[in-house]
């Protein structure tokens, strides 16, 4: 299982691109971090999500 934005998901073995294709994220407006390190957009096709990874998918919101 991979923990993505706090939720355990059965996506280990998939690339970031494959995972994102299963979701409705606006991929132009997100950044992805795995275990504290950023996964660059250029790596989405090759970076494979592993069992136990902790992933954050973030975007900008209003703030002060």
């Amino acid at each position: 299982m991979v923990k993505i934005n706090g939720e355990l998901l059965d996506v280990a073995g998939k690339t970031v691109t494959e995972y994102l294709s299963l979701t409705d994220y606006n991929t132009k407006r997100i950044a992805v971090e795995r275990n504290g390190d950023i996964i660059l957009k250029s790596e989405y096709d090759t970076a494979i999500l592993c069992e136990g990874d902790i992933v954050e998918v973030v975007s900008f919101v209003g703030g002060g």
Binding site: A31, G36, K41, G63
Partner: protein
């Protein structure tokens, strides 16, 4: 006045009003930016959601510099992570460091802020640390590579005004970087007063978000900040410690 630029990390701005984008509808951002005359707008980074396809970036006019904050960070390491994610979101190198350990008063952690400033400035960020106004900390932030210093006026979101006035004045007098008063400014008159003191700019969010008419309040702040800046540049008149001083010639004629 035409050459009176605000310079942050080598970037020039004409406006001295930094606008927040929190706690109000994205649909009001365009009007807020316009009436504020703002050239810099702050943003936060949060977990993305899949339900809402609308993104705040689609509502910010072109040409406005984005200033992501690190709100939510409780230490330097988390602030650094958020800053890197913000840069990966593809909107430049500016970052406002905001590190809070306490959720009741939301006071910035100055020590962690110095650490994060040092790391991020080395990575090429234009670092604008939000801090509790303390001269020694401000000097450490300068040495750590900050591009400006952002002291709080009063607790964030309180609209209470310049509670830390004396200490902000010390920063203005002693620190060569732009001093941008951030947090707690609730009224245009308070923004004006900070600018009269020599603050380089004002950052406001809640004052607008909780106002009755947001664009009109943005305009009021814009006018107040410009008025305060002109007053500062012109040099304020002196204050008498006691007594009075007539504004009219003292030679009367009626009793002669």
């Amino acid at each position: 006045m035409d050459n009176d630029k605000l310079i942050i990390g080598g970037h020039e701005f004409n406006s001295r009003f930094i606008l927040g984008s929190g706690k109000y509808s994205m649909k009001l951002i365009d009007a807020a930016v316009k009436y504020a005359g703002a050239e810099i707008i702050t943003l936060a980074v949060r977990r993305a959601n899949t339900k809402d396809q609308e993104n705040i970036l689609d509502y910010i006019p072109n040409g406005v510099t984005l200033l992501p904050n690190t709100s939510g960070a409780r230490n330097a390491q988390e602030a650094v992570r958020i800053a890197r994610l913000a840069r990966e979101l593809g909107c430049g190198d500016f970052v406002k460091i905001e590190i809070m350990r306490d959720s009741k008063y939301l006071l910035p952690d100055n020590t962690e802020t110095i650490k994060a400033t040092e790391i991020l400035s080395k990575e090429g960020f234009v670092v604008m640390p939000y801090m509790y106004p303390d001269l020694n900390v401000a000097r450490d932030l300068v040495n750590a590579g900050a591009a400006s210093i952002m002291p709080l006026a009063s607790p964030i979101g309180s609209n209470k005004g310049l509670a830390t006035k004396e200490f902000i004045q010390i920063l203005i007098d002693e620190i060569d970087l732009p001093i941008i008063v951030d947090a707690g400014i609730g009224r245009p008159s308070q923004a004006c007063e900070a600018m009269e003191m020599g603050a380089a700019a004002i950052m406001a969010n809640t004052a607008l978000a909780t106002a009755g008419d947001l664009p009109m309040m943005a305009s009021a702040f814009c006018s107040a900040i410009e008025a305060g800046r002109q007053a500062y540049l012109s040099g304020l008149g002196r204050v008498l410690t006691r007594g009075a001083s007539a504004s009219d010639p003292l030679t009367g004629f009626l009793r002669d």
